[in-house]
Structures are given as C-alpha cells and as structure tokens.
C-alpha cells in the first residue's frame, strides 16, 4: 500500500497543495487527472520522494518514506519523470541497462531483451538515445523503469509515471497501457498522470481528480468518472458515454465553436 496522509506542500508559504489523503493499492491502476496547474506533478514528486511535504507523510507498505534508504526505495518503487535527458551518447540498450543498477536480483540480458521487444524498441537498441524521436525516447525510458521492478517480488511495489505516453501515437499508447495492465498481476500498483480522458476511462481502475491543489474526487472509475465531475474539474462540457455493446467508455468534448454555435441557436 502506498499512502499519502494529509499531505501539504508550500513554496515560500504559499500552499501549492493542501491536505491530500490518498491510498494506492497494489494490483490497481490509478490515474491522476486534472487541469494544468492543479498540483498533479507536485503530488507526484512528493509521492516519489523527490521533495518532502511541508506537513503530513508518505507511507510505503506502512513505513514512512523517510525511513527508507534510496537503495531500499528503489526496490519498492520505480519512477518515470515527465522529461529525462541523457547527457552522454548512451545507446537505447544502455539506458535500459541502467535500470538494473539496484535491481533486487540478477537481471540479465534476457529481461532487457524481453522488455525491449514488448515495447517494440528492440530495433532501436544500438541507436544513440539522444537521436531518437520523442515517442521512442518515452518507450526507452519506460523500459528502463520497468526493468527496475521487472523481477517478481513477495512485497507490493509501485510504478509512478508522469505522462508516460504523451508523445506516442495512438496504437503505441494502447500497447503501453495494456502492458501496464499486465503488471498489476505482479502485485504492482501503477500510478500515472494522464491527460487523455478516454484512455483513463478505459484503462484505469481508480482515478484521483485534482483541482486547485486539492483532490476534488477520488475513487473507482465506475463511480467518480462521470460527466458532471469531469465538467466541474475542467470547467468545460465533457460527455462520458458507454459504447453500445457496453464494453468501454467514450469520452468526448465538443470544439469551442460548436458550443458557441449551439448557444446562439438556443437563444
């Protein structure tokens, strides 16, 4: 269990996020959504241990994050930040290899090969990381993070991802989210900041909806991921519908000029 208990965070006495309580369960996919500047990334950094919170505490498997060394923490949780650059000409293969640094047991070439093939980046293995496209870089970074927690363990672990698929094309987005879904079976809790609402609706088990530094709603997607809640969150008309056959959700928002047009017609 990854818990955040009444987390506060201030920058020079100005509260960025205030009084947040969340729980992440292993084996569940939790998405964080919310408008720009809602405090998603700040919460993400507090949960991953990058910054301490002004008040409150973060618990991994019942123990405060402060009691773990960076090495111990690396075995319980892996983190993929929004942007990572590599300062020297490392190849894609070598970037994945970096993920083995604190891997609990001997992780070898087979696992790296397996992860690369699953993410469809095997053909990029000896390309220099910095010459890859945005979507390719994201898959390589994701591969590195996956390697860190790839071997099965007895204790629950967590994968924290900040917009991991933002530069990928739609088929790759589904490929990656499907892979993340598979990870749940390894007793891994996945937490991801995501922007594409229809992907959230179709892949996440739970959702944390943030607005103005607070959690506006949180819970099972089937309970809180509704049109009124989303419209409140983003201050914009958003419709959530079920597909006719009942499988999957369809989330859509109308273009601004259509909305204006309809408003005029209604008058």
């Amino acid at each position: 269990m990854l818990q955040g208990k009444n987390i506060h965070f201030c920058i020079s006495d100005k509260p960025i996020i205030g009084d947040i309580d969340i729980k992440l369960e292993p084996g569940k996919f939790t998405a964080i959504i919310g408008p720009n500047g809602a405090g998603k990334s700040t919460l993400f950094k507090i949960l991953s241990g990058d910054v301490g919170c002004s008040r409150g505490e973060v618990l991994y498997n019942g123990k405060s994050i402060k009691t773990y060394s960076s090495q111990q923490l690396a075995r319980i949780r892996a983190v993929m930040p929004q942007h990572s650059s590599v300062s020297f000409p490392f190849s894609a293969w070598e970037v994945l290899e970096l993920g083995t640094l604190n891997a609990p047991s001997e992780i070898g070439q087979e696992e790296i090969t397996e992860v690369m093939q699953k993410l469809q980046i095997w053909h990029l293995r000896d390309r220099s990381y910095n010459l890859l496209s945005g979507g390719e870089k994201q898959r390589v970074q994701l591969g590195r993070v996956l390697i860190q927690i790839w071997k099965k363990q007895a204790f629950p672990r967590f994968l924290l991802l900040d917009e991991p698929i933002s530069s990928m094309d739609v088929s790759l987005q589904h490929l990656v989210l499907d892979l993340l879904n598979d990870l749940k079976k390894r007793n891994i809790g996945v937490l991801s900041v995501l922007h594409d609402l229809s992907l959230v609706g179709n892949y996440a088990d739970q959702v944390i909806m943030m607005k103005d530094g607070d959690v506006a709603f949180q819970g099972e997607v089937s309970m809180v991921f509704t049109s009124p809640n989303l419209e409140y969150l983003f201050d914009y008309p958003i419709k959530v519908k079920k597909y006719d056959d009942g499988l999957g959700l369809l989330v859509h928002s109308l273009p601004l000029h259509h909305i204006n047009h309809r408003l005029i017609q209604a008058q």
């Binding site: 960076s70 970096l98 293995r125 860190q148």
Partner: protein
C-alpha cells in the same frame, strides 16, 4: 551519427571494453620504454629493461653506471609522475564531466586549477613559517593547500551553475571565466607582497612542468592521488545513472549526496596535487574523456579507466616531445598540451552547436 560500438553486440560489450583497456595499457608500456630510452642522454633500449630489473635485484643484461644513474635518478621518476598526473587529470576530467553532466567541463576551464594555483601561491609566499615546524610540511603542505583551493572552487562553481541537479553550461563557463580572472588577480596580489626568496620559489614552481620530479615528490603524489583514483573508479555505475539526471539516479537508488561529495573531494585532490607538482597543465581532462567516448561509447565502466590510461599516454607523449623537440633545452609541457587541446576544444564547441548529442 555517433554509433556506439559496444551496444550493437550487447553480450560482448564487456569483452570489447576489456580489450580496449588492455590495448591502451600496452600502448602506455611501450611509450614508457621509449621515454626511458630517448632523451638528451640516450639510453639504448636494450639497456632499459636490464636497468629496471636490476633495481629490483634481477640481473638480465648489461648496462653502464651512467645509464642507470640517469634512468633511475632523473628519468624514471619523471615518467611515473607524468603517468600519475596525466592519468589523474584524465580521470578527474571524466569524473567532473559526469558530475556536472556536461562534456565541456574541464578542471582548467571551470577554475579548479587556478583555485589550486592560488592556494599554492599563498602557501609558497606566506607558508614559510609553517615549514620550520616540521620538514614534512614542506613536502605535503603545497599539495594540501592546492587541494583546498581546488575543492573550494569546485563547490563554488557547482553551486553557481546548478539548479536542482541540472547544470547550465553558459553559466558554468562564465563562472569559470570569472573565477579564473579572480584567481589570477589574487595570485598577482599575493606576489606583490612576496619577498625575493618566495618570488624565486614561485617562478620555479609555475614554470616547473614535470622537470622537477624526484622520488620523494612521487611518493607524496602517489599517496594523495592513488586513493582518489580508486574512489572514483569504483563509482562507475552511479556515474552512469547520473547521466540521466540526479533525480532519476535517486529514483534508481543512488545516494546522490554521497556520490557528489566523493567526486568533489577526489577530483579536487587529484587536480590540486597535479597543480602543486607540475603547475597547471590544461586540456588533458577535456580531450581525453571525449576521445574515449567518441571511440567506444559513454559507459563509465570504460570511460573512467580508459581516461586514466589515455591521459597517462597523452601526457607521457607530450613530455617526450617537450624533452626532445628543442634538445638539450626543454619546452614547458603545458605549451604542448594547450597546442593540441585548444584547437580540439574549438572543434568541440563548433560541434556542440550542431549536434547536442
């Protein structure tokens, strides 16, 4: 495009790296033998090995007493000092580049060398009182002061140029320019107050390339440099992780603060000792890690020991040239490394504009 040789065949990567290191090691040994032989006083190659073996009590051939005196008394300590300092500067350059996450970092450019030089001058001019306390201080005081100066400047430059684990290269270079100017002015100020003996001492030291090497200096240098070398070489997995960024390295379980302090201390110790023994020798720390990365990839498992070996090779070769180009006189070795290094630095800047690899 920079194609990384080792990654195309992942499972043989370590074997390729080891081969490269063995090759560099052999080159260094050949160069040492040549350096031992060639000079103002020629020692035939067939005498070099017998002299070396004789010094450890093995008799494998004949040589003259004069040959043995020149080699063991003058040339060998100088050659070994060149290996320590060249290798040390190469490794310190690689470590600082990894720490600052920037391939343009070099001890001379960011002011570490001049910081060490300033503190060394302070010791030469004002430290004469300390010398009377203990004769050991006269040997170890200069390198220790240079180390302190180097360390202070490294910490200063790092704090000026980094923000949350990222280094801004333009700020870094500007900080280096400012610190070099400041240290130059301070050295001038200290010299203004120096007496004649101290001035002579300083002049001797500032010109003193590898020529002043002797066994006792070499002993001090090895005591100070060897532990620092060992500390840095051990940190290759952490330096690899830090190439992704300090935050990412922390996520992967690297104890960032510990690694940073070890790298700060060790590289300042190496640069400070090198400065105190041989004056400021520029560009070795910049060029060497680059050549290794260009040729064999960025993995620090190879870059660190490779930079030591190639740095030792480059400085030994430069010293060989310095001793022989204008025989029987000598060129200061710093001139030769700068003549080779500065054009390479310009080439790097031009390239850095084009592809920010």
């Amino acid at each position: 495009m920079i194609k990384t040789l080792q990654a195309s065949i992942p499972h043989t990567k370590h074997r390729v790296q080891n081969t490269v290191l063995i090759f560099l090691g052999l080159m260094l040994i050949i160069l040492v033998l040549l350096s031992a032989s060639i000079g103002a006083y020629q020692i035939p190659l067939k005498s070099v090995l017998p002299i070396l073996f004789n010094s450890v009590g093995l008799n494998i051939g004949n040589f003259t007493g004069a040959e043995a005196n020149v080699l063991m008394g003058i040339r060998l300590p100088r050659i070994l000092m060149g290996i320590f300092i060249g290798g040390g500067l190469g490794l310190a350059g690689a470590a600082l580049q990894g720490l600052f996450r920037n391939p343009l970092v070099e001890p001379g450019l960011i002011g570490v060398s001049s910081g060490g030089a300033f503190f060394a001058v302070v010791f030469i001019v004002f430290g004469s009182g300390l010398l009377s306390i203990s004769p050991l201080l006269s040997l170890i005081g200069l390198p220790l002061f240079a180390f302190l100066g180097g360390l202070l400047v490294t910490l200063l430059v790092y704090n000026i140029s980094s923000y949350s684990g990222k280094t801004d290269i333009s700020v870094l270079i500007l900080a280096g320019v400012a610190i070099n100017a400041l240290m130059g002015a301070l050295i001038g100020l200290v010299l203004f107050y120096a007496d004649d003996a101290a001035l002579r001492n300083f002049t001797f030291w500032s010109l003193g390339d590898l020529g002043g090497s002797n066994w006792s200096k070499l002993g001090i240098a090895s005591v100070l440099i060897l532990p620092a070398l060992a500390m840095i070489l051990r940190l290759y997995p952490q330096l690899n992780a830090m190439a992704l960024g300090e935050r990412e390295a922390y996520h992967m379980g690297v104890n960032i603060q510990y690694v940073k302090y070890v790298l700060f201390l060790s590289s300042a110790l190496i640069v400070g000792t090198a400065v105190s023994m041989s004056g400021t020798i520029g560009f070795v720390g910049l060029v060497v890690p680059h050549l290794i990365r260009l040729g064999f990839g960025a993995d620090h498992r190879l870059v660190l020991p490779g930079s030591f070996l190639l740095g030792a090779i480059l400085l030994s070769a430069a010293d060989l040239l310095a001793r022989n180009l204008v025989r029987p006189a000598e060129l200061p070795i710093g001139i030769i490394t700068a003549l080779l290094g500065a054009p390479f630095f310009i080439y790097l800047i031009v390239n850095f504009k084009k592809v920010k690899y």
